[in-house]
């Protein structure tokens, strides 16, 4: 039964992902007093791209062709670690958060290689910048999770969620706040959002992620776009389940799960609004200010880790 729910969660995360990015851009449009495209547009785009043909540069090797697929595969695998409506996931009780982070890293590694394989200047540029960002993002990402896992005395995500679930909202500690801050910043960087990267730009000076995928077209591009959408959704879900899991269905029952699902939608909407707000009010940072941004995140997360010793007493 739990397995069913776990599969369901995975499906929600994967299939709902384009919707999330659609809604985010819609909200952004509203904030900018625009009509904005339909929230279903990402689905349509992905579908269209899947129908288009796939162009490959002559210089490219199999790495170029496989990079999007590996990226997609790893993202799906990462999804299997994230609980949504029930404090468990396909792999969440077997493996810990290190797997989550490094599985994502594997995908990113291949995507960067694919970018370099294109043989154009943009690919290299994007890959190089991505390398910088992800390098600096990794430490705060892990440290933030470490802080929570120390409190929870569990390394596996299910255990961490369970622990938070057993507390009530009011005895969340400074550690949680610090960790949440750093992780939120990291999520912005990881998913190529403002102020680190601008998902909608194609301006040479600013683009990171877009620069990498510039050579991709057709189904490959579809996979890349979908994967990044899934990544965003999964990370949001992770934030929710780590810092606000209350309302998850602790017992396995249709009604409980349904309620949890609704509650989840509410939470994710809140996060999406927050994200949209941030993206609309914050200006994109200059490339060489990104390290400072992530440095702050790292410092905050380190602080969170140090505070654990006080909180545990």
């Amino acid at each position: 039964m739990t397995t069913v729910i776990n599969v369901l969660q995975a499906l929600i995360l994967v299939l709902g992902a384009p919707l999330v990015s659609g809604i985010v851009s819609k909200i952004k449009a509203w904030i900018q007093r625009r009509q904005g495209a339909s929230i279903w547009r990402p689905y349509i785009e992905i579908a269209k791209l899947f129908r288009k043909e796939d162009l490959v540069p002559p210089s490219a090797s199999w790495v170029f062709r496989f990079a999007p697929k590996v990226l997609f595969g790893t993202t799906i695998c990462a999804v299997a670690f994230v609980p949504v409506v029930h404090p468990s996931a396909l792999l969440a009780s077997r493996g810990d958060f290190f797997f989550l982070v490094y599985v994502l890293a594997l995908g990113r590694f291949f995507l960067s290689l694919g970018a370099l394989d294109g043989g154009s200047a943009f690919g290299g540029m994007g890959a190089s910048r991505e390398a910088l960002v992800s390098t600096l993002a990794e430490a705060p990402f892990l440290l933030g999770l470490v802080a929570i896992s120390i409190l929870a005395a569990h390394a596996d995500i299910a255990g961490m969620v369970m622990w938070t679930l057993q507390r009530n909202v009011f005895d969340i500690s400074a550690v949680h706040i610090l960790a949440f801050t750093s992780l939120a910043m990291v999520v912005l960087a990881e998913t190529g959002r403002m102020p680190v990267d601008n998902p909608t730009t194609h301006l040479e000076l600013t683009m990171i992620h877009e620069g990498m995928v510039l050579e991709y077209s057709g189904p490959s591009l579809a996979l890349v776009e979908w994967a990044s959408a899934v990544k965003l959704h999964a990370l949001l879900a992770l934030l929710i389940s780590l810092f606000g899991p209350w309302g998850m269905a602790s017992t396995v029952s249709v009604w409980g799960t349904g309620a949890a699902l609704l509650l989840y939608l509410a939470k994710v909407t809140v996060l999406m609004i927050l994200l949209a707000l941030v993206e609309s009010v914050v200006a994109k940072l200059r490339m060489y200010l990104v390290p400072d941004f992530l440095g702050v995140a790292a410092a905050v997360s380190a602080l969170a880790v140090i505070f654990t010793t006080l909180v545990k007493g």
Binding site: I76, A121, A131, T309
Partner: protein, 662 residues
């Protein structure tokens, strides 16, 4: 029965590497003789592998003594630890030797080739002696020979002023380190009355604390010099790149590990841990070496130097594990200590595999393009697919990505850091979990670096005509590399094979250590992850439609040239900028002609690192000694009257000494 056969097999290994192969090679220059010798080397290593496997996975032990023959007790033996490292050596040696067959054939003339093979075999023997020695004498003999023979291999490769200088630095630092090792052995002597390991082990409880500290520090410095921890790494990026690629593979892949072996022997087996600051010293050394090593690596574009710096980084990761283990040991957490030690040992093996594979790849590249300068390479993946794929696997492994062996050991290290939070000691509670961040940063930088390496060398368009016309490496080279790549994947996906025996190995070294759960859990989950990733990738790969060739978008230009690609230097620029305080780079931009800055004919840019350990640490010391020597030289004035005066003054001094002694 089995014991005897093992002894015979091991004896065969020693004899064929130490006597038969070299003698055959030196005695006769015929092709058949060389073929025979090479088969002997490979075959004996295979035999050695099985011996090691029996002692590592099985329960069998081995002891072989020549003490009756030699002036000081000289005995070899295989307990689990030695067996593990013997396993490591043989596992790497076989593919490297196979690779070397065609590499040496291409690069050296008849006579020199035989000599190189002789040295190669003796070098292997010396390393085997080190890891299997069971007396101090045997260990030190092997230790010194290892340095000499590797230096010999380097000198075989060629001869230039710079090369000689590097070899000189290598030899000198190795000898100084060896002196420290000698001292750390001998310091046991007053208490153990003999240098065989059993005696030392028995005596170590009665060694007073002060001496223990001295022993530990000397061992740390001595083996640290060999392992190349910063700031004792000076020789490493000089010596490894200039050796013949198979030799570099052995030096970086195996020789450094003998230092790890020695340190583990001392810190865990002989001393049985110590105060927790031991652990922190090692931990800091590991963190510094890891971070700086990888940062220096990123700035390089000479492939072999880059790889050498990555050896420094990985040694750093290993030392992180060892340090953590020592901290746990000092805090009476044997199981966690075992976990960290397993992580360190496993990473030792993993690094041996992928680093030698990377060096072999570099050898294949230089063999195909006659350069290892990244800026001259590019687009090799299409031209040498097997080499490229093997190299890619090695890259993923060294970066520590899941499904590859590097990840297993790094994950174990992460978990041992995380476990630091359960200790009751606040310092450890804070320091160890924070180390997660350090290791994460190291990993991230390594990832960036190897995206650069593989992307620039193998992907995109060729940057030079050599790269343009590169052809795939010959069969034997590919064979050697494929074997290593397979090993990386095997350990990456089925780590349980090694983790179980490693756990029982650590139980010997760390009394009261059970089997850490992590070693079990990772073995259970990795296949799942592999299944999901590979499954999904395969499905998408099968479902997506066929692809069409179309030229890369040229930003409106008529066509792209390879000069428009990102170079290695350009790729690493952002990271170098962020960490510029580490490099303090001295940049130089020359535009020609100088009078028309806006219409340059040629622009040359170069940026060199100005931070240097030589200037900061070694120079002053060396200068001191040399100037002292010059002062003394002045005392030898050449004037006989002064000489006579010396004699009389000595006499007077001694007489007064006598007078007051009375």
């Amino acid at each position: 029965m089995q014991v005897v056969s093992i002894q015979v097999a091991f004896g065969f290994l020693l004899a064929s590497l130490g006597l038969l192969a070299p003698l055959v090679l030196i005695a006769s220059r015929t092709k058949r003789a060389r073929a025979f010798a090479i088969t002997l080397i490979v075959g004996s290593n295979v035999v050695g592998w099985f011996v090691a496997a029996l002692c590592f996975w099985g329960e069998s032990k081995l002891a072989l003594t020549f003490s009756g023959f030699t002036p000081f007790p000289f005995a070899l033996g295989l307990d689990r630890l030695s067996a593990f490292f013997l396993l490591l050596i043989c596992t790497v040696a076989v593919p490297v030797a196979i690779f070397a067959v065609s590499y040496f054939d291409k690069h050296y003339g008849e006579q020199r080739r035989n000599w190189i093979w002789a040295f190669f075999s003796l070098f292997l023997l010396s390393m085997i002696t080190v890891v299997t020695a069971s007396t101090g004498f045997a260990f030190l003999v092997g230790w010194e020979l290892m340095t000499l023979l590797s230096a010999g291999l380097i000198l075989m490769e060629g001869d230039s002023a710079e090369r000689r200088h590097n070899v000189f630095i290598y030899l000198l630092m190795m000898h100084a380190g060896a002196a420290a090792v000698v001292a750390s052995f001998f310091l046991f002597l007053p208490y153990s009355h003999s240098l065989d390991f059993a005696g030392i082990r028995a005596a170590s409880p009665v060694v007073p604390a002060g001496i223990r500290v001295l022993i530990f520090l000397l061992a740390f410095v001595g083996f640290g010099t060999k392992a190349g921890i910063i700031p004792l790494h000076l020789w490493l990026p000089r010596a490894h790149p200039i050796a013949p690629s198979p030799a570099s593979a052995l030096m970086s892949g195996v020789m450094l590990k003998t230092a790890v072996y020695g340190f583990v022997r001392f810190a865990f087996d002989f001393l049985g841990g110590g105060p927790s600051w031991f652990g922190y010293v090692v931990l800091v050394a590991g963190a510094v070496s890891g971070l700086l090593g990888v940062l220096y690596a990123i700035a390089e574009h000479d492939l072999k130097r880059l790889l050498a710096y990555h050896s420094v980084e990985n040694i750093g990761i290993i030392y992180l594990g060892l340090g953590t283990s020592l901290v746990f040991l000092a805090n009476h957490a044997p199981v966690l200590a075992a976990l960290a030690l397993i992580a360190a040992l496993l990473h030792t093996l993993n690094h041996a595999l992928f680093k030698s594979l990377l060096f072999l790849g570099a050898g294949a590249i230089s063999n195909a393009t006659h350069t290892v300068d990244l800026e001259e390479l590019g687009g090799l993946q299409r031209r040498m697919p097997v080499t490229g794929t093997a190299f890619l696997i090695a890259c993923c492994s060294i970066v520590g990505l899941p499904l590859f062996n590097g990840f297993i050991s790094e994950w174990l290290t992460f978990r041992s850091f995380l476990a630091g939070s359960v200790l009751l000691n606040t310092k450890a509670q804070i320091v160890l979990p924070l180390m997660v961040g350090v290791l994460a940063l190291i990993g991230g930088l390594a990832a960036a670096c190897f995206v650069k390496v593989f992307g620039v060398a193998f992907l995109g368009r060729p940057r030079s005509s050599e790269a343009e016309h590169a052809v795939e490496a010959p069969l034997l080279m590919r064979g050697g590399m494929t074997m290593l790549a397979a090993a990386c994947l095997l350990i990456g996906i089925l780590p349980g094979v090694l983790l179980r025996p490693l756990a029982s190995l650590t139980q010997v070294l760390i009394p009261g250590a059970g089997v850490p759960d992590e070693t079990v859990s990772i073995a259970r989950i990795i296949p799942w992850i592999a299944a999901i990733i590979l499954g999904v990738t395969a499905i998408t790969a099968l479902t997506t439609r066929v692809q069409r060739m179309a030229p890369t978008w040229g930003c409106g230009l008529s066509q792209l040239t390879s000069r428009m690609q990102y170079t290695s230097t350009a790729f690493s620029k952002p990271i170098r900028f962020v960490f510029s305080s580490v490099y303090k780079p001295d940049r130089k931009l020359d535009k020609l002609p100088t009078d028309k800055p806006y219409f340059p004919v040629s622009i040359s840019y170069r940026s060199v690192r100005t931070t240097s350990y030589e200037k900061a640490l070694y120079r002053p010391f060396v200068d001191l000694i040399v100037s002292a020597a010059h002062q003394l030289r002045r005392l030898q004035t050449g004037n006989i009257q002064v000489y006579l005066l010396y004699i009389f003054l000595t006499l007077v001094a001694l007489l007064t000494f006598l007078r007051f002694q009375r």
